[in-house]
Symmetry: C2
Subunit: 452 residues, 2 copies
């Protein structure tokens, strides 16, 4: 009853699927290379034949990395999404427009869509997924998170029987490369960024990566699947890595912690504390201290990983290269096959739009998030200082797990480094602000959240 | 065109699926618990309703961990596989018969099959997959490898656009626990096995695990999907961990290597050497030295992991708990949903049975496998010994990468530990046998293969 018919083609017996592409940059060329090269083996494996049919590019005359029949190129994206022979539209233009408008037309025409455009789906996901649902077609976006690592498939299918409790992800290769260099070479941020740029791992304007926005886009998409709703980028609290001081990377290492840019989604039950938020979902991206023994601490350089905790499976981790022409191309082709086999499902049921499941799982505002904290204050070297700092923390209900007083700086002040127990963000920040105003404290202090 | 219709149910509009279970042990109870507990959320997520319909057990009166309507139990497996109302048959009896016979009947009745029975599929896979193909239905076996880690789904769907080059897996939790204890506690095998048994990680008769057979079963199934053919357990070369000496675990650690039971599938191109095998597939399970920096070296205790190299994605690793009631139950329910959504595909196309793709990828016989080796000889402490050992190795074309001569044992002999460059198994074994016969060498020597 569940087979796809003889030869394992799609459910309606169709066996040849025509691909229309929007854009043909690095990832597009990767897709074309895989389709052209692997067509026979894909047909052997699945019974389905996929063909490049039409490709919209800005410049039809430009030389391409892959040799393509020039007759396939058009300068007009509308031609691709309106072509009745095109079954599946692959979008690799990036950015919001014209990608959004073209994909809405493709969906309205009943075409399956495959995209690597995390920014588009994180900002306009609800509109696009609703269109897919209304027109009974699908949007594949495996390539938009962690490149060739099948993490979307894992959340949608492999872990479907789980209630997802937490996601901890290293979802941005650029920042992971920079942090790996900072931790391992004890080199400052600016130098490691420069190295990443020289190697082509970081853009000339690296802000989308280093400010945590790219990781936040991806966390939005993972959370959609993990928590069965459609989240918006505005619901994710994002902080970047561009103000990380090497000094804190060193102190963290002394304490047994690595610094990683983690994207975190966490289901939280109501706390006992009446000032606490009554349960919901934390969505946040920020530099985070994790113990060296943590599975994510060993994810180095440009590699990505997602550590997902389900109520049945416990922790599952997926790891690999999160970007690049061929890994991302591989994920797009997997989504094409998924659509062709008729198994790409509308990612969300009507229930998820119309029965408001978010009632049970509101996004917790940043000031109500719960975490352990690392904090460093630079203080004058005189008696009684530690006691006063500890007193202020205590008065805000922040309790201290450990304290290290470091050797005095050349400038004469002494760094005090503390790890707190779990507390509420606003309490911690109120205590930190009050301590910064003490006469013997030199601003600014530094703080990081800690996950164990 | 690729959607599954409104409400995202199966392709033929069916929305309620009845499960017949064969067996109701630990894993079966896990499946029942997830189905009963998660039915509403599974319906929300997918539009599909799954129901327990009939359960065949040996003893209908036995008390069960999960509270089940007693009317569902039957003592007769035939009743389950012949019930026209049953859509999907879940087999959790284990062993070969009666599981094999019942599943063949279920497939002949057009029912989708979901099983965790790796031994059955590794020994009778061809017969069962052919039956699924003939009756246009499917066999889901995600639960048979690595419990709740969706590695089967990754190979079948997520990595479909890749030519898989290698699989390196820690596929057996029992042996990984024992080896973790040996490496970390420097405790001998027998003591660590006893500890594993005390904790319930190892059976009273641990031979299927410690001899490498369980890992070999799982490697067979992963290779089916990775290399698109149906392999038999007899094609896997398996060695266990039961003869690992603590001495070698220590020397390996001194050299920077951990000892793991790895399941390895490796595509090999023809070598330049005329005595070499003309390309094919290596399938092997054996204790293996891997550098401490290798991603699999950090997979500790009962955890499993599979490191898969594809031509497009590069290395992808999946990691998690490889066994247990709830992780395995979670994988079975994922396969049930997959079958219900109509997306469980016949795993193999007719091509794979009738066009003999194995011509291109013969399994390489054990004596022709290629590897680096760790070898330890115990020799008398006198001059010229090292030179003679090295001369014999050289005469067989085995070249040495590094040598360590250890302190003399209490018994007076001296261990010489060598790491070779890559060579062919039969050459290494011929050299080792010849060296063991030298008058100053005390038998037996010890050897391990090395992966970098």
């Amino acid at each position: 009853m569940s087979g796809a018919g003889p030869g394992m083609a799609s459910s309606d017996g169709k066996k040849t699927f025509r691909i229309g592409m929007l854009g043909f940059g690095t990832v597009g060329a990767g897709v074309a290379q895989i389709v052209l090269h692997s067509q026979p083996s894909l047909k052997d494996k699945t019974g389905i034949d996929i063909r490049l049919h039409k490709i919209a590019v800005r410049d039809r005359k430009k030389r391409r990395a892959v040799s393509i029949d020039p007759g396939l190129f058009t300068a007009d994206g509308e031609e691709v999404v309106n072509d009745p022979e095109v079954d599946i539209v692959v979008e690799v233009i990036g950015g919001i427009e014209p990608a959004r408008g073209l994909l809405l037309k493709a969906l309205a025409n009943g075409k399956a869509v495959v995209t690597a455009n995390k920014a588009l789906l994180a900002c306009h996901g609800r509109e696009l997924f609703e269109a897919a649902l209304a027109h009974e077609t699908s949007i594949g976006f495996e390539a938009s998170v962690c490149g060739g690592i099948p993490v979307i498939g894992a959340l949608r299918d492999g872990l479907v029987a789980n209630r997802i409790e937490t996601i901890h992800g290293i979802l941005n290769g650029t920042t992971n490369y920079i942090l790996t260099r900072m931790v391992e070479d004890k080199a400052p941020y600016a130098q490691c960024l420069y190295e990443a740029q020289s190697k082509g791992y970081a853009e000339a304007d690296p802000s989308t990566d280093v400010k945590g926005l790219d990781a936040a886009h991806k966390l939005t998409l993972l959370s959609n699947l993990a928590f069965h709703s459609v989240f918006d980028i505005s619901e994710v609290h994002a902080e970047g890595i561009d103000r990380i001081a090497l000094e804190d990377v060193r102190y963290a290492a002394d304490l047994g912690y690595a610094v990683k840019l983690l994207a975190i989604a966490k289901r939280r039950n109501p706390g006992a504390d009446p000032e606490d938020f009554p349960g919901g979902l934390e969505l946040r991206v920020h530099p985070t201290l994790i113990p060296f023994s943590h599975p994510l601490a060993n994810v180095r350089d440009v590699f990505n990983a997602a550590l997902i905790r389900g109520d049945a499976t416990g922790e599952v981790m997926l790891y690999g290269r999160g970007a690049g022409m061929m890994p991302t191309g591989s994920a797009i082709v997997a989504d094409i096959m998924d659509a062709a086999r008729g198994s790409a499902r509308q990612t969300f049921t009507k229930l998820q739009f119309f029965q408001n499941p978010r009632e049970d799982l509101p996004v917790i505002p940043p000031e109500k998030m719960r975490s352990r904290y690392y904090v460093r204050f630079n203080v004058d070297d005189r008696p009684g200082v530690m006691g006063k700092v500890a007193t202020v923390l205590g008065s805000h209900g922040v309790s201290i797990a450990s304290v290290i007083q470091k050797e005095p700086h050349e400038t004469g002040h002494v760094p005090i480094v503390m790890l707190s127990h779990v507390t509420i963000e606003e309490r911690f920040q109120a205590a930190r602000a009050e301590i910064e105003e003490l006469p013997f404290v030199r601003k600014p202090s530094a703080f990081y959240r800690v996950e164990d």
